[in-house]
Symmetry: C2
Amino acid sequence: MRSTAENAQLALLLEVSSTPKPGNVDRAREYPDLRFEHFVAGAVGAREGLARAADGGPVGESFRAAIAGMSAQSGGNTQFGAILLVTPLVRAAAAGDLSPAGVEHVLAETTVADAAEFYRAFEHVDVAVEDPPEGMEDLDVRRGSDAVPAVRERGLTFAGLMDRSAPTDGVAAELASGCPRTFEVADHIEAESGPVTDRAAAAYLDALATDVDTFVRAQHGPETAEEVRRRAGAALAGEEDPAALASEFVERGINPGTTADIVAGGLFVALERGLEV
Amino acid sequence: MRSTAENAQLALLLEVSSTPKPGNVDRAREYPDLRFEHFVAGAVGAREGLARAADGGPVGESFRAAIAGMSAQSGGNTQFGAILLVTPLVRAAAAGDLSPAGVEHVLAETTVADAAEFYRAFEHVDVAVEDPPEGMEDLDVRRGSDAVPAVRERGLTFAGLMDRSAPTDGVAAELASGCPRTFEVADHIEAESGPVTDRAAAAYLDALATDVDTFVRAQHGPETAEEVRRRAGAALAGEEDPAALASEFVERGINPGTTADIVAGGLFVALERGLEV
């Protein structure tokens, strides 16, 4: 019987082990400077922070601790979004209500201190994000701790921050709305049979074909993001080879990280609900 | 900066991530019922027990806890030998002397209680071992807890048990002699450059070509074990393709687990000495 913190760590590890996941680092594909081993080390380092959330620690502080641990490897940002999504899910599981309503409840209880810790997490790692909306420049996450006074002044909670970031960031959009895509991925993984990493790869392709990946949009623009969505659909329909698509996306540096984050969240939910590995 | 328990867990994960490792499960090869994901889950479950050893817990109790956690997956025995080797290394590291002398010191301090816990660990998982030597049938590890009275009666310590098992088991032989092969693998990994999983795969092939794998000998007999050693040498010399050899060994169910265990130990030593991932 695995603990909630163990399931959270295992979800991160199973996500990166699932293959093929077009564009993302997986067991069979990696970038020269962002390798499979960096994700493995990231998951090892994240566990302490995830365990804090499972023990009832504040979302913000637990998240920042997990990101600090994740960053103790030389690949850079490996699982920032996945940990952002999983930390509130861990809190919901620890509170005994791992459901959309349970996630909404966890978010509703977050504070300005949680938002401040979220900003502090950016001190540990470079994360690719879109520019903030007009009038929110002082809240640009890339400012890290420098943005904390503005967070306090505006009385911005972690939940408020997710609401504001939802239009540009897929993970924030999940957290702001009870994680519908995450629970859908969990259902998908549970409905299939066979190796868990095969099921997670199938759920990934399905999610990639359904919604535009906001990380790809932030890095490569809306046209490329739409191309990724369309071609994932073609792979699902058997019109493209997923493995060839995976190699092409990696070659072009197209890395649909948000979709991978949601798969990590879905794996965590499925594991908590009893998915056997 | 990773903790000792984190390095131990990371060593288990990097070991199984290293490829090609002829005959063993790795990132690219698995058996239908013993898959990459089982090893990942095994490493997740082992962490608590390894953390106990890092906190100064007894070798036997820490080991048994790590094996209990490792077993919380459906693949069966994934890392029994690796955890057996790594647990005393963790204790040596925690005591500030991760060296052959440090390992010998840890072993010298083990007790009959540690040996009893070692036997109890066999309750959690089926492990392939050779028959015990004549006159030691009551100490057959496959008896699990049933052997504990005999352990007590003979006053057998964990170190004494490793001494007795050394002729038939490569991991016991390591522990009984200050882990010379383990430290050699660590040196090898540190001497190379590039991705850590490539370096560990190279160190594995080298170790496989040098000494007969006792797990292969227990499962397939001495002739097959010698063939494995010889052909690993041929792969090292460029006369065989390591990837083809890996596929053939997996096909034949030849699984040099002891050599993989020693690579896991070597990875732990290298990580503790500052190997960057």
